[in-house]
Symmetry: C2
Subunit: 134 residues, 2 copies
Amino acid sequence: MERTTRQREALRNVIEDAQRPLSPQEILDGAQAVVPGIGIATVYRNIKLLLDAGEIEVVTLPGENPRYEPAHRAHHHHHHFQCDACRRVFDVHECPGDLKGLAPKGFRVHRHELTLYGLCKECIALKRSAVASA
Amino acid sequence: MERTTRQREALRNVIEDAQRPLSPQEILDGAQAVVPGIGIATVYRNIKLLLDAGEIEVVTLPGENPRYEPAHRAHHHHHHFQCDACRRVFDVHECPGDLKGLAPKGFRVHRHELTLYGLCKECIALKRSAVASA
DNA sequence: ATGTGTGCAAATGATTTGCAGGTTG
DNA sequence: CAACCTGCAAATCATTTGCACACAT
């Protein structure tokens, strides 16, 4: 049965309080403040536990190391938008829908992942003011 | 100046002849058949060279190590399919089309990446024969 | 007390780099 | 023969695992 430890509680809180998906190292950094001496191995072990328990979810974008966020914040089926300027990632709740027809014949499609790239609202505004002040 | 070596030629051919993006290890395996003794370091060094030369392009899927494919094949807009069983990656030439409407309002979408997941033809066949022999 | 959890360090797996010797132009 | 290349092994980087000890229940 799963036990309650200072380390696990600290890790849970760090992930919960973050306003964005965190990398294992970022999670460790946050937990160090509460439980000095906590090790990176404990972070990885608990990430796995929390994933299995369905408390957190992994966010994997192409070419980037995995990050983790609370499951309740990640909800149901959704996609991501990454800003080419600020690199931040936003949730996209729209979905193109059924894509099973796209695969080569004979293949079976179970699910899909979509990442949109471009400029977020804020970076568009920043660019506009930069041009204006030029 | 860049020189012509058996190793480099072999690597180029393996990548060119493949019908799908290859991992460094897959490239090495293919090249071993032509140049026994070729090492993984040579594969990585030449991948970097070919990337800089614009001959090949990187394919990065969420949570996966990079794979490489010839630039002329990558230049056509396309997507990827990854088999949940054998983990191999295949090109998908179909595209759902315009996805600009999916992003939050105020965002500008420049491009998108789509990855389909499921079972490839071969793994479906393997599963079928496994069931048959059970 | 009993088994889970933790820290440390060694083990992985992927990729990079230093070095000494081999090959190309 | 000078510069470029290669193979090997050691070095990184991120992540995993073995072990002995600590701790929750």
